[in-house]
């Protein structure tokens, strides 16, 4: 998170607001509700209280305008710049303006007024932009469900105002994972047309071979239809699709576009109903088979015939000898898997196990975040 210079904040915990005009995109009561809920988001985690004024000058004056709208800080027509707000202070301080050339909604289409308002009120209360892509105060718009603040946002606002004395129960979104955390574990990894996608919690990193720095993004800001968390993923380069697994469902991507007709149940692949999630998946392009890992077992799926190979499932411990934890215990479950040039890379917690098909054993153990050039 970031704060404004001199940690600008309101000195009084009772902050007034006034809605001076309305957008025709929504009913008046929907605008009122969005504004109210956006303010309540911040009062839930601080001692701040908000009082509505219907006339006169309030601390936070809220309006909809387009292009040049009176503050020499013009909007830019549809898309691009959505809204802005001024840090706490006299006059313009705290004022919040929304670009009327946008389409304001109360759902996931176009721009959700509640989410943008909550972000802007963050500025009106003293918050700068965060570079955590999962934070509400991240500058780029993305739609999300549920309580919009992340732990990062809460840390920032509480640095200014302290916690809510009534200890209201909220469920903030966790902070972005740290790629160089030596204890980093991952949820899934897959190739996608030459890039590597590594999934962790609500996020994924994109690793491009020509760039050393992985790019961290929220899963749902790229694919709003996907669930918040991914269990497994693999690319079938012959079919040019990536299959994403979460729980008992799977989705298909063609490039970055979701293939229509999904999600489908994983049991279509031949899993028994007792399998409730896939832990890891990897396509072995040399054989045309895809390996699936569930609990302590692994399966081999023939992509050409669309059926499971006979004789499966088999035990991970038996199939991939040499996977041991630091205390010497055998590893019997896998979080994620990739394959390259005769080597299978299996990920369990913060370790990467390099299994050689030639030698039929694990030949190297490194840290999981080697994947992220760390």
């Amino acid at each position: 998170y970031n704060l404004f210079p001199r940690k600008l904040k309101w000195q009084n915990t009772l902050v007034t607001f006034r809605i001076t005009n309305y957008t025709p995109d929504l009913k008046k009561e929907d605008v009122d509700k969005a504004i109210h809920n956006a303010l309540m988001t911040w009062s839930a985690v601080t001692p701040l209280k908000f009082k509505r004024l219907h006339e006169g000058i309030a601390d936070i004056m809220i309006s909809f305008g387009r292009l040049e709208h009176g503050d020499h800080n013009p909007f830019d027509g549809p898309e691009g710049l959505l809204a802005h707000a001024y840090p706490p202070g006299e006059g313009l301080g705290g004022d919040t303006h929304f670009d009327e050339d946008e389409t304001w909604t109360k759902d996931s289409h176009a721009y959700n007024l509640f989410l943008v308002a909550a972000h802007e009120f963050g500025h009106a209360l003293g918050m700068g932009h965060s570079n955590d892509p999962g934070s509400l105060m991240y500058p780029v718009y993305s739609y999300s469900h549920g309580f919009p603040l992340s732990e990062d946002d809460i840390k920032g606002i509480q640095e200014l105002y302290g916690p809510n004395p009534d200890h209201e129960k909220v469920k903030p979104k966790p902070e972005a994972p740290d790629k160089c955390d030596p204890e980093l574990s991952i949820d899934a990894v897959t190739e996608l047309r030459g890039e590597k996608l590594i999934f962790k919690d609500r996020y994924f990193w994109r690793v491009h071979p020509q760039f050393t720095e992985p790019e961290l993004t929220l899963i749902q800001s790229t694919w709003p239809q996907l669930p918040k968390k991914v269990n497994a993923a693999y690319e079938n380069p012959e079919k040019d699709i990536v299959i994403i697994f979460s729980g008992i469902r799977m989705w298909a991507l063609n490039g970055y576009t979701l293939v229509p007709g999904y999600p489908k149940y994983i049991h279509r692949l031949g899993f028994p109903k007792s399998v409730r999630k896939i832990d890891a998946a990897v396509h072995i392009y040399d054989t045309g088979k895809t390996l699936f890992f569930t609990d302590e077992d692994y399966w081999s799926y023939n992509e050409q015939t669309g059926t499971m190979d006979p004789g499966y499932p088999k035990s991970i411990m038996d199939g991939f000898p040499g996977m041991q934890e630091r205390d010497g215990d055998e590893v019997d479950e896998v979080d994620a898997a990739t394959y390259k040039n005769g080597y299978l890379y299996l990920y369990h917690e913060n370790l990467q196990y390099e299994y050689s098909y030639n030698k039929r054993k694990v030949v190297r153990i490194t840290r999981t975040n080697d994947l992220l050039n760390c």
Partner: protein, 77 residues
């Protein structure tokens, strides 16, 4: 005048973006070359968004610049 090509459009987009959100000053800047200033601002923007810090207007950087966003600058005055 000639119709601007894609590269010029990208440059104009980046210039507008950096002026608005990274406080890049317009016009000549004394001894600093304007291209050096722009490179520095691109680096600041890449660092903020955790992109590869190259100072170049690569595709990833342009992609971020094209996304809908808040109008408050990313860097403090």
């Amino acid at each position: 005048k000639p119709v601007p090509g894609d590269e010029t459009q990208s440059w104009l987009l980046a210039e507008r973006y950096l002026r608005r959100y990274y406080r890049m000053q317009p016009g000549l800047l004394g001894t600093s070359k304007s291209s050096d200033v722009m490179t520095e601002k691109i680096r600041a923007m890449q660092s903020f968004f955790k992109l590869e810090v190259t100072g170049n207007l690569d595709d990833n950087t342009l992609q971020v610049m094209k996304k809908s966003r808040c109008g408050v600058p990313d860097v403090a005055e």
